[in-house]
């Protein structure tokens, strides 16, 4: 029982990291209908920005944290302007967007390897590593902080989408971008806002990830998992991304804890494929026809 509770906590904590990363994929997909693979690169840069604001510039943690999120926010918008807007204006097929996204992602990773260097870096200890003990179950302080930060950010995002004018515009644009434009919504602005939001979340996810683990150019390997979680939950649906991520985290830990850690990825991903066979749009995805 103790082990089960501990494994559940492990799963929730891993899942909440996936969730923060997955929302970025879902947000962009809901509007633009393509998978923004550059998101992983932005997350990775978020981790580096946070690291340098903390150690290089010596900023206090909250400032460095928000600073990193704002920097990636700007970066995501720049990527949109540079890599996607020209394609949008030419009404390029979705495949081109994906190629452009993958190119950006490879570019960002290699840029970091070439300029900052390939070795990993370690965040200074911001929160004590001594865990909180409840009975025989231990909860890491950082995990708890991550879980709370993720939850608050996601709640704020849902509030923003449901209760503000811009949020409504995003929903309308997600539903039908052409009709929204005809109704006088500035869809170009909506797209900027969506990328800015995605970038902001990428920064938060990157810094939290860097604090918990380390910072290295190949963080994208993990973001692939969160992308899969987003697909599993239903691309384009925010609650779907969150639920898919948490489920993936829990499935992974339970598989590793109770069946076999050697076969963890194998079992977890076979399970996901099976779900997608019976429910191709994911757990909570909208019904779509041709989406790349």
């Amino acid at each position: 029982m103790t082990q089960f509770l501990q494994q559940l906590i492990n799963g929730l904590s891993i899942g909440s990291v996936y969730a923060l990363m997955a929302v970025g994929y879902s947000l962009v997909y809901s509007i633009m209908n393509f998978s923004n693979f550059a998101h992983g690169g932005v997350i990775m840069l978020g981790a580096y920005f946070g690291y340098y604001y903390l150690t290089g510039a010596g900023l206090p943690f909250p400032v460095a944290f928000i600073g990193a999120a704002l920097t990636t926010c700007l970066l995501a918008v720049i990527i949109e302007r540079g890599a996607y807007k020209p394609l949008r204006e030419r009404k390029a097929p979705f495949l081109y967007f994906i190629i452009s996204a993958m190119g950006t992602s490879i570019f960002l990773e290699n840029m970091v390897i070439a300029t900052i260097g390939p070795t990993f870096r370690t965040y200074p200890e911001v929160l004590s590593r001594t865990p909180i003990q409840i009975g025989s179950v231990s909860i890491g302080r950082l995990d708890l902080a991550m879980f709370i930060i993720s939850a608050v950010c996601l709640a704020l995002l849902v509030f923003f989408i449901d209760h503000t004018k811009m949020g409504k515009a995003i929903q309308a644009t997600a539903y039908n971008i052409k009709a929204s434009a005809l109704m006088g919504i500035n869809t170009d602005l909506v797209i900027i806002i969506v990328f800015a939001l995605g970038g902001f979340f990428a920064g938060i996810a990157g810094v939290l990830f860097g604090m918990k683990y380390t910072v290295y150019p190949q963080i994208g390997i993990i973001t692939n998992k969160s992308f899969i979680a987003a697909v599993f939950g239903g691309l384009g649906s925010l609650p779907g991304a969150v639920i898919g991520s948490i489920l993936l985290g829990v499935i992974e830990t339970i598989t590793a804890g109770y069946f076999s850690s050697q076969y963890r990825d194998l079992i977890a991903f076979v399970l996901l494929v099976v779900v997608l066979i019976f429910r191709p749009r994911g757990l909570m995805g909208k019904v779509t026809e041709d989406k790349a």
Binding site: T2, Q3, Q6, Q7, N10, G11, S13, I14, P86, L87, R90, A92, Y96, I99, S100, M102, G103, I106, F107, N110, I113, A114, G117, P118, T119, F120, T122, R129, P131, Q133, S136, S138, G140, K212, Y213, T214, Y216, Q218, I221, I222, E252, T253, I254, T255, A256, G257, S260, S261, Q262, R264, D265
Partner: protein, 398 residues
């Protein structure tokens, strides 16, 4: 039309980004100190290893060490009565496929007389056919898997190494843990996708069980993983006396932190993949009391000179790989001098009968194994931010 050109542009961009960092830049450096030396007065030696990725810290250190030693040798008049040494280093990225490409480039294009490295067994094993075809010897530095030099009972003619091997390392860890430290129940957490880790796990398990101990948990992860709490929670339930980590320092540091967070307080134990300055940056408190089977005793008076020379030149601490790269250079220079000519086949013959004193111990190459025979391991324990030497320990392999 516009679309087509756009697609072309995108493809070009992708190829460019790949090309920018995709091909390893040759880290060549003329060691002659600016003077132009005629082609035949230069002996080219290849080096390969990780210059990118998790093990870049080690690869960089190896290449630096080789460069430093070659510069020193050249300043003293070179080898074979005045010939200068030049190192040509390429990045394997820790990727076996890339290692094969690098071996081909070094032997085919650069025409080196011998290769030093790679440090990883996974990269050292697949290059054998390339070496055999080109008839160029290779001296691996820290590649400890048995298959690096011996496959299916047959010695690979052109593969040598200066380090001890995994069965030996596993036997030392098991023997020291059981006999000296009194551990009876061991848990193992290893990398399922890595030759080194799998080999060490296998041999540790074999010798620990043979001594009468039990493996209470054997859990795996995959290269690239960063969260090990599911496995560690399971290990905690199994209540071991020691947690054996036959892996590399990055994962070991993350595991140590996460294990302590989950309330696992038992000592950790590991092989030669653990020692690194990075271990302290990442997990200083969590790795206290860890026992490591190592190649070298860092406090040995014999190694201080090398350590200081490296620190003075590069302003960094010498990593474990540097010591073995040093011994590989010593072994190679000895072989070149005894061969009397910079010819790969003659050097290979000389390597087979080599018997030199390196900083990590006496290196007497066994003709049937191409391994240094009877090399003792140094057991070190982490105390504060030091690797404190415990004792030399040798195990009987049967």
């Amino acid at each position: 039309m516009l679309k087509k050109s756009l697609a072309l542009l995108l493809i070009c961009l992708m190829i460019l980004t790949l090309a920018l960092s995709g091909c390893s830049k040759p880290a060549t450096e003329q060691q002659g100190g600016g003077e132009t030396t005629a082609e035949e007065d230069v002996i080219k030696v290849g080096w390969m290893g990780s210059l990118t990725g998790d093990q870049a810290v080690w690869g960089q250190c190896e290449l630096n060490t080789v460069k430093m030693l070659f510069e020193e040798i050249n300043a003293k008049g070179g080898v074979l009565g005045g010939k200068k040494l030049e190192v040509i280093g390429y990045d394997t990225k820790g990727d076996p496929q890339e290692a094969v490409n690098v071996a081909k480039r070094l032997t085919g294009q650069d025409k080196v007389v011998a290769i030093i490295g790679p440090n990883a067994s996974g990269s050292a094993i697949p290059i054998a056919p390339v070496l055999e075809e080109a008839k160029v010897p290779d001296i691996a530095t820290v590649a400890t898997n048995p298959k690096v030099t011996v496959q299916d009972g047959k010695v690979k003619p052109f593969n040598f190494r200066v380090c001890f091997i995994d069965p030996y390392q596993g036997a030392v860890a098991a023997g020291y843990g059981y006999d000296v430290l009194g551990f009876r129940k061991a848990a193992i957490l290893y990398d399922v996708a890595d030759d080194y880790s799998q080999g060490l796990t296998e041999f540790f398990e074999q010798y620990f069980v043979a001594k009468g101990g039990t493996i209470v948990a054997k859990e795996a992860f995959k290269f690239g993983d960063v969260d090990f709490r599911p496995q560690l929670s399971k290990i905690k339930e199994a209540n071991p006396d020691v947690l054996f980590l036959p892996i590399f320092f990055k994962e070991a540091a993350l595991i140590a932190n996460q294990a302590r967070e989950l309330g696992i307080t038992v000592p950790l134990m590991g092989g030669d993949g653990l020692p690194s300055e990075q271990l302290f940056t990442m997990a200083k408190d969590a790795v206290q009391g860890t026992y490591i089977v190592n190649h070298v005793d860092y406090d040995d008076p014999d190694v201080q000179d090398l350590k200081n020379r490296y620190r003075n030149k590069y302003g960094k601490e010498l990593e474990l790989n540097g010591y073995l790269a040093h011994d590989a250079v010593v072994l190679l220079i000895d072989a070149i001098e005894r061969a009397g000519v910079a010819d790969p086949v003659k050097i290979t013959e000389a390597l087979e009968t080599a018997d030199v004193q390196g900083v990590t111990g006496r290196i007497k190459i066994g003709k049937d194994t191409h391994n240094p025979e009877g090399k003792e391991a140094a057991i070190v324990k982490i105390e504060g931010d030091k690797y404190v030497f415990q004792q030399k320990y040798s195990a009987q392999l049967d």
